[in-house]
Symmetry: C2
């Protein structure tokens, strides 16, 4: 399962609380991303952060865009704090220590109560929550020294309109619930929405981050030339699509509902994302690394575990689209579907990548 | 009923959500405080705010300490924003407009999800939530231009230890649930806790507010020479105390539970608060006004409405102390108690005051 940490504006975010089906309890994959990212963050900050971006008061402000309610957001910002602290102490031995303030951002419907309740007690920073879509401005100008976003930018702000329009050649009907190789128009529409979303994200951050401040982006993607259906994530999605198609034939859910259900996600290639960042123009790319997630090779998830992982990030969308009453039936059937088709995963698991991108805001 | 917007560290905050018993739906009194305060805020900012406290980036940062989840917090900060905006535009006609960032602070158990969901859609500022007790530092040094706290400082961080110690002369046993005139030791213990809490509050804010920044405090209190039992709030509390005593005799709740229940509140006189602020020494008192709350004269609350108002702010404490199961029975009986003794309010209603205090942080 891919890391799906942010959800679209119209939808529910990750399953809240800390129960057995919560995002907080079911995000080991995302934790793996954070841990691997740690080394890259430490090196990136060591080489690219310039302390002249500080004001005189020794405040250092960090924001996590698309934090969700889970514990991974804390690991991510702590890595940044550790890296900044190491570099600062080495360069400023006689100065008072930095004071960090961390802003945790996610959509208004995110479970901020759980996020706040689970803040680490050894907290080395002042914490704040910032509700709202990261596709618009969330902070005053020149407020932040480092922005951070892990596993969030792949979530689209909305399903592209043409994909939902039965008169458009890009109509994504039937059990095909994602951008996929079956239709060039659909893929184009999804990429278009992704490009627009990343552009508005970067434009907003360019106002909020101080000149020469950094933006760290971690996101799953796919290698050039690899189709989504060849990745384990794509298989998970496609099996969920067939599950919906079956349930529609069985009369459990309406066919029109299946036609209009799409996952608001886009797994970009490095080239696609690089092109969008360059076209936006506000940031220079200081570092861009691509790596395999170790869990893709090592993890042996059974169908039940894959279902829970997918449910953690998709339940809100499924509920909103199909109604509260059918959710249990849909996911119960999905486990069966996964069990019956589990061999499909055998070929695919090495094809997903993680991208680490370190950006620096250009000075106007 | 007094305005009880903040609760103690160990306790539950105001009843969350926006149901019929929520704080959000039952705080017209507090709204009255905010509206009356508006004129004083506008005049205070006009006369006392100096724009040289700004950095160059046109950010203006405000924090509401003890915001709760209700809508009054929005009115309060909007008054400040309006007042700052008027003064700024008059003095800086050619400058770009200010960008406001507002931090809503309350205890971690406050219902921030409701707070965020009910943020006004016409929002003229960037919003953030800050969880934690305002008796400690919540922000980096020199982060805020104006601090604001309405109806919150009267909540104590804890019940003074001696009040709960059956061997102390200050033991507040029986149905006496507050600081009161029956025992000098009890009153002294409550005042001591209040003084300590206000001192830690001001000391933390003195670090967080920029030099010559402002701190606006609104709080209910009592006039010199007036006993709590002579105010309508004191009557409400004392009737709740007798209600608990009755229920203990009826075997519904244990006598020891009644002995150990206290309201963590202190209604200071202006002189008491003034002395604490001066002793703390970080802030100069720029303005201090005392006024009657118009609702005390005008409002005709029936027993049911008084019960709902009291319950809104005390339910968390009552639940925590007596257990979830007895809460309904306690408040049902309380309505009867209020009905039977309602004439007690006739003499008392003019004796409570509201205090408005404008402080300016001294430069070191």
């Amino acid at each position: 399962m891919a890391s799906l940490e942010h959800t679209l504006i119209e939808a529910r975010p990750m399953t809240g609380g800390d129960g057995p089906l919560s995002y907080a309890k079911n995000s080991p994959f995302q934790k793996g991303v954070v841990e691997r990212g740690k080394l890259m963050i430490i090196e990136g900050i060591k080489n690219k952060l310039d302390f002249k971006i500080f004001d005189t008061s020794n405040k250092f402000l960090i924001a996590d865009f698309g934090c969700s309610a889970g514990p991974n957001t804390f690991f991510g910002v702590e890595n940044i704090i550790e890296a900044v602290g190491i570099k600062y102490r080495a360069q400023n031995k006689d100065s008072p220590p930095l004071e960090f303030q961390v802003f945790f951002n996610d959509l208004t419907d995110n479970d901020f109560n759980t996020l706040f309740r689970t803040l680490p007690s050894y907290q080395k920073y002042f914490a704040a929550g910032v509700p709202g879509s990261f596709h618009v401005r969330l902070f005053p100008k020149s407020s932040l020294h480092i922005g951070f976003s892990s596993c969030a930018l792949l979530w689209l702000s909305k399903i592209p309109r043409e994909v939902l329009d039965c008169k458009s050649p890009a109509w994504n009907k039937g059990s095909i619930i994602q951008c996929n190789e079956h239709s060039e128009e659909v893929a184009k529409a999804f990429l278009g929405q992704y490009a627009s979303d990343v552009d508005t994200f970067l434009t907003a951050r360019a106002q909020e981050i101080v000149g020469e401040g950094l933006m760290v982006i971690q996101s799953p993607g796919r290698p050039d030339g690899v189709l989504m259906s060849q990745t384990s994530t794509g298989i998970t999605f496609n099996l969920f699509g067939s599950c919906l198609a079956d349930l529609s034939k069985m009369g459990v859910i309406a066919k029109e509902k299946v036609d209009s259900f799409n996952l608001p996600l886009y797994f970009a290639t490095v080239k696609e994302l690089e092109k969008i960042i360059k076209k936006n123009g506000y940031f220079s790319i200081e570092k861009l690394e691509v790596w395999d997630h170790p869990m893709f090779r090592a993890m042996k998830l059974d169908p039940q575990a894959r279902c829970v992982q997918f449910r953690t990030v998709s339940e809100g969308l499924v509920k909103m689209h199909f109604g509260d009453n059918t959710v249990e039936e849909i996911f119960n059937y999905y486990v069966k579907k996964l069990e019956e088709n589990y061999s499909a995963y055998d070929k695919a698991s090495n094809h997903q990548i993680e991208m680490f991108i370190l950006l620096k805001l250009k000075i106007n």
